[in-house]
């Protein structure tokens, strides 16, 4: 038997392409039919390729089978036929439906699907799960593992989200010119959170976590590739993802523990991604939009310079100040204070930090612990201990414990 290696993730990649094209053709209310057809196509491959070898052009084989199954499904189900195919092009008496699996239509369908899924009627949580399923081709188990949830919860969440799409009669199409920036905002939030799920996840499955980030980057990049959506905020978000992703290898040691920024080996930072981040940050500077992604990407840029200079921290402080004006978040406020300490010293930063009063946040006490260390080690230790008791995840507890042990 001729053995040919399959492209890694081929089925996952083709799943999302087939589902996007078929859902676009059938309408979003039949998204489950599209999912079933894609899954059945891979099972056919499993039953055939396993014993007869992998065909010369696996993708073409999959598309031919998917097209056939789609046609059979249309012919078999009369209700489906009347409702859906009634609106489709019918050439001659025979039911000849054009199923367009060209790369252009795949690309368009996927982008339109991205907008459909990031619909304001659906909760962000559900958008992320739906994006992982429909736009990334993840299985229920994989989504549950990646999001530290369980199968039942994810299943319910997906069912409800699909129901919502049906009720709202969401169309798989590009939003109109006037709507695009508003709709894009939700899309970017979802992609940003999808990336963060991978980047900050507690999931032990490292491969899956990297995949999540890679998928978020791929989807963001697809927006850049499309003229209509190649906007400054999109470029800024992509730049931010590149800068963060550049530290993937450095932020985890051989035992899988998180290595904090200041202890990372810069030799492990990915220079290619850093320069990519720089390139897209530059592209993001066209026009006069300043989104939070611009600011976060700029902060991330300064973090690619390991050396502690006043210039670096002054810039970071200024960027955090701007970020806090656009969108307040406790983490940004804490990080701002850390930058302040780097410039004006720990004593001044302590006064600023204590004004924040984020007493349910373990990062707040971690920061105070850091600021007190070497000034008042007893207070430092006390704060780290408070942080420890508030920390929710194993990784955070471990990191804090290490700090406590240093006293």
């Amino acid at each position: 038997m001729e053995q040919q290696e399959l492209i890694p993730h081929l089925f996952r990649t083709e799943f999302r392409k087939i589902v996007a094209v078929l859902s676009k053709l059938f309408g979003i209310e039949h998204i489950e039919v599209a999912e079933d057809i894609a899954s059945e196509t891979f099972l056919s491959a499993l039953e055939t390729w396993t014993f007869n070898g992998i065909p010369k052009n696996p993708t073409a084989w999959l598309y031919a089978v998917a097209k056939n199954k789609a046609k059979n499904s249309i012919n078999r189900n009369t209700v489906f036929t009347e409702k859906v195919v009634g609106q489709l092009d019918r050439s001659s008496e025979s039911l000849e439906i054009e199923i367009d699996l060209s790369s252009q239509n795949i690309l368009d369908s996927q982008l339109q699907m991205l907008f459909a899924i990031c619909h304001p009627a659906i909760s962000t949580e559900a958008q992320i799960s739906l994006a992982l399923r429909i736009l990334c081709g993840f299985g229920i188990d994989e989504i549950a593992t990646a999001l530290l949830s369980n199968k039942e919860t994810i299943n319910k969440r997906l069912l409800r989200a699909k129901e919502k799409l049906r009720i709202e009669k969401v169309k798989i199409e590009f939003p109109g010119e006037s709507e695009i920036s508003q709709r894009l905002e939700i899309v970017l939030t979802t992609l940003y959170l999808l990336f963060n799920e991978g980047y900050y996840s507690e999931s032990q499955d490292l491969v899956l976590r990297d995949d999540l980030c890679a998928e978020a980057m791929r989807l963001t990049y697809s927006l850049i590739e499309n003229e209509q959506t190649d906007l400054p905020a999109v470029n800024a978000l992509f730049s931010l993802m590149c800068f963060h992703a550049s530290r993937f290898k450095a932020r985890q040691n051989v035992n899988g523990e998180i290595v904090l920024y200041q202890y990372q080996d810069e030799a492990l930072w990915n220079q290619e991604l850093i320069s990519k981040g720089g390139y897209y940050l530059h592209r993001a500077a066209r026009g006069n939009t300043l989104s939070k992604y611009h600011l976060e990407a700029s902060i991330a840029y300064w973090h690619t310079i390991k050396e502690d200079t006043k210039e670096k921290w002054r810039n970071i402080l200024m960027l955090f100040d701007q970020l806090l004006q656009i969108e307040y978040s406790p983490i940004a406020a804490l990080n701002r204070t850390y930058a302040l300490a780097k410039i004006n010293g720990k004593k001044e930063a302590i006064l600023e930090a204590e004004k924040l009063k984020l007493e349910s946040n373990h990062f707040y006490f971690t920061l105070l612990g850091e600021l007190y260390s070497n000034n008042d080690n007893q207070k430092a230790k006390m704060n780290f201990e408070k942080a420890f008791s508030l920390a929710k995840t194993q990784t955070d507890k471990q990191t804090i414990q290490k700090r406590i042990d240093q006293f």
């Binding site: 038997m1 053995q3 399959l6 993730h9 081929l10 089925f11 996952r12 083709e14 799943f15 079933d36 894609a38 899954s39 059945e40 891979f42 099972l43 056919s44 491959a45 499993l46 039953e47 055939t48 390729w49 396993t50 014993f51 081709g137 993840f138 299985g139 229920i140 188990d141 994989e142």
Partner: protein, 120 residues
């Protein structure tokens, strides 16, 4: 040398598998078959798709056609391969390597193929 059919019984993958899992199963099964083929002991094999599957039963002397049950039960035949082996034990060793057995409750059935010489 005898020929044995190694029959795979498992659940319908449709309900449980993600695209990634299906691809992983395929790779594992191909590796398993290649391992047997490398010893020149692989004869042939085929998958048996679950969709468009039917069962014809004799009920009260009538031939009833049903759609199953497939899928819900673990005992459904998903495919089989035919191998050459010197003994049933060797064939069982081949069967043990089948990735189908990673699934709880799934099974492999090892059956000798009749030679048509009246002995078997």
């Amino acid at each position: 040398m005898e020929e044995y059919a190694l029959i795979m019984r498992h659940e319908d993958g449709m309900k449980v598998a993600s695209p990634e899992q299906i691809q992983a199963w395929m790779k594992q099964t191909m590796d398993w078959i290649s391992g047997i083929a490398a010893q020149n002991k692989f004869v042939s094999g085929t998958g048996l798709p679950f969709n468009d599957a039917r069962v014809v039963i004799n009920k009260n002397s009538k031939k009833i056609v049903t759609n199953g049950p497939f899928g819900e039960i673990k005992e459904t035949i998903g495919g089989f391969i035919i191998v050459r082996a010197t003994s049933v034990d060797e064939a069982v060793e081949f069967a043990k390597g089948c990735p189908v057995l990673q699934g709880e409750g799934n099974s492999m059935e090892v059956r000798k193929i009749a030679k048509g010489d009246g002995v078997h």
